[in-house]
């Protein structure tokens, strides 16, 4: 990369360059290189849209998994209503957009030299996008060590754990107890744990009607779509679901199959504990997991550039924000970030007032679903994303939304991976 281009990128990052102005004289330098780590909803979207909006930019997308398994709809796999295949997509579509896909583990990130190192290679970048998702903080729960993790599953990343939890439910006796533990917000997928309880209950109702679920919620109340989930539990699963707020899981024992809160110890046939979370470890490698607790990554809402490391952008669940940590949000952030980088790498100002939207559908049974939808708009004075008035939840549980929920999944998987 020529010196000129470097200076120019710096100027652009500082918010100096303006479209169409003489700065363009700097523009004809070598092809810009963007490296993206994490091929989930955020990273894969950013990769596709950078190529869509400027095919001259070189894009490398790195992920340790060879294909994508969707967290959205994975609770339907638990309930036996979908297969893992139904919710799996390949990276072939991304390749057809000219994205260089690398399946490998990232081992180091040098943000001074601007190089990402993996087990098998190294990748220099002008701009780096991190979309590493979440890591689990097992150390926050006593006894949730590597050995206990073999029996007590989180199943909060779709894949082998989803199938294993399904098998645990299948092999438990009718009359058994399932305990689901969930952490304080913020965590990945705000309505997800409640959806899971609905769909596990849906399975029990059909296959093991004498069994029951106790949900231990660390939060003081149902943290998402409350009236709708309450209605589902009251009307569809009254005999199968018991909900306990303010019940943080403090301790688990796989040997005794017990789970403990401040108030009680429960013995169960199946224990499913979703631990507290933080930004994926790749964010730590880059030194961008820098909020006050070292848990999430502060970044600009205009460019998603990290507040601690220049030229490193963070999107998706890892971001410190008021956003719900959803695939839909990650997909929208991927587009805003792609849009900003395409402009900046061409010496133009990024769009100063980006908009992102969220929608989370939740299935509550085999044929009913609900949603929450919000549009966020950047407020440059407050430097925050403001939820626009008018967003909200479904009027009721409905069959038509069950159809739309599935259409949403097809739509967004296609938008990201086709």
């Amino acid at each position: 990369m020529s010196m000129q281009r470097r200076d120019f990128l710096k100027a652009s990052a500082a918010g100096l360059a303006i479209s169409g102005l003489p700065l363009r004289a700097y523009g004809n330098a070598a092809k810009a290189k963007v490296v993206i780590v994490g091929a989930g909803f955020g990273g894969a979207t950013a990769a596709k849209y950078i190529r869509k909006w400027d095919p001259s930019i070189d894009v490398t997308l790195i992920d340790r998994e060879g294909k994508f398994v969707s967290c959205p709809l994975s609770n339907l796999v638990l309930a036996g209503l979908k297969t893992l295949d139904n919710i799996t997509r390949t990276y072939d579509g991304l390749k057809s957009h000219g994205v260089n896909v690398v399946v490998d583990d990232v081992t180091a990130i040098d943000t001074d030299k601007r190089v990402v190192t993996t087990a098998k290679g190294s990748f220099p970048y002008d701009r780096l996008i991190l979309s590493p998702g979440i890591d689990f903080r097992f150390d926050q729960i006593e006894g949730y060590d590597a050995k206990a993790q073999e029996t007590i599953l989180h199943a909060w990343k779709a894949g082998p754990q989803t199938l294993k939890l399904r098998q645990q439910m299948e092999s438990m006796p009718d009359g058994g107890l399932i305990v689901v533990g969930m952490p304080l917000a913020p965590y990945r997928c705000p309505p997800g744990p409640y959806e899971r309880v609905c769909l596990m209950a849906n399975y029990l109702k059909r296959a093991k009607p004498k069994s029951k679920i106790i949900m231990l919620d660390a939060n003081p109340d149902v943290a998402s779509k409350k009236p709708l989930f309450m209605k589902a539990w009251d009307t569809l699963y009254k005999d199968w679901v018991e909900y306990r707020p303010n019940s943080k899981v403090l301790k688990v024992s796989a040997d005794n199959m017990t789970v403990s809160t401040e108030f009680e110890d429960l013995k169960a046939s199946v224990i499913n504990v979703i631990p507290p979370q933080r930004a994926g470890h790749v964010a730590e490698l880059a030194g961008v997991r820098t909020d006050s607790n070292g848990v999430w990554c502060p970044a600009s809402f205009v460019t998603y550039e990290s507040k601690s490391k220049p030229n490193v952008h963070v999107i998706g669940d890892s971001l410190l924000s008021n956003f719900p940590k959803s695939g839909h949000m990650a997909n929208n952030m991927g587009k805003v970030c792609a849009n900003a980088l395409v402009e900046m790498l061409n010496g133009r100002e990024p769009n100063p007032i980006p908009i992102v939207a969220n929608t989370c559908y939740s299935a509550v049974s085999e044929d009913k679903a609900i949603h929450v939808a919000t549009v966020f708009r950047y407020d440059p004075v407050k430097d925050q994303m403001t939820a626009q008035p008018g967003g909200g939840i479904s009027a009721d549980l409905s069959e038509v939304e069950s159809v739309y929920a599935e259409a949403w999944a097809e739509g967004i998987w296609g938008d990201v991976y086709s």
């Binding site: 303006i18 102005l21 007032i353």
Partner: protein, 219 residues
């Protein structure tokens, strides 16, 4: 007005592509909601010029680089150029809630005042300096705001609105039909499961911009 047109002439030197009909600038009216600090590092031989773009009663300020030469060669402007360049004082900072009119924004920002209308080229519908209307075509952030905004819909309606699911496609949709549907979702006239909530997050002007985008896609 003299200074105004002089500065515009200077800008036209800097951006030959600006069409002459963009001289029809009226003073911005509304609330000043975006005023970034003056850039600290101005490239050699450039000057930073404040520009305003406004829309829906909101004024956005940006700094734009213009070759010093271009400004110096304008006699009417030469004297004021240093003033334009003088750093904006802290007095300029606008409280989040202050409904500052263009006039008071101008007094708050004396150095920049004269140049505001000059660079503020006629009403691009998205408010940013990069949205200057070049020869009648949107450029810079107007395009990028619109494409980024339309992309929020692609999550459900498919990339470029080419849906392959139960959610209806938007690709190739007639503009006036599109705008009417969006307004009807927003007002509640058309019933919806989810679109009423999304439509309320966008302005009518943005419906228009998205209508252009979807109409232009071959279904």
């Amino acid at each position: 007005m003299h200074r105004v047109s002089a500065l515009l002439a200077a800008l036209m030197l800097a951006i030959p592509a600006i069409s002459s009909d963009s001289t029809a600038a009226e003073p911005p009216v509304g609330k000043l909601i975006y005023l970034p600090a003056q850039p600290a590092n101005i490239p050699a031989n450039m000057v930073a010029v404040p520009v305003a773009i406004w829309s829906n009663g909101q004024i956005f300020m940006q700094w734009m680089f213009v070759p010093a030469q271009a400004i110096a060669s304008m006699p009417a402007l030469a004297g004021s150029a240093p003033a334009i360049l003088s750093p904006v004082t802290s007095a300029v900072s606008v409280p989040a809630t202050a409904a500052t009119t263009a006039a008071s924004a101008a007094t708050a920002m004396p150095a920049a005042a004269a140049s505001i209308p000059a660079a503020a080229v006629s009403a691009p519908s998205v408010a940013t300096a990069a949205a200057i209307n070049v020869a009648g075509k949107f450029t810079g952030s107007t395009v990028t705001h619109a494409r980024s905004m339309a992309a929020t819909c692609y999550s459900c309606h498919g990339t470029d609105g080419k849906s392959h699911s139960a959610i209806p496609p938007l690709a190739g949709m007639d503009k006036s039909y599109f705008i009417e549907q969006m307004k009807d979702f927003k007002s509640g006239k058309r019933e919806a499961t989810v679109m009423h909530q999304h439509a309320k997050g966008y302005t009518d002007e943005e419906f228009q911009q998205m209508a252009e985008i979807f109409a232009a896609v071959k279904p």
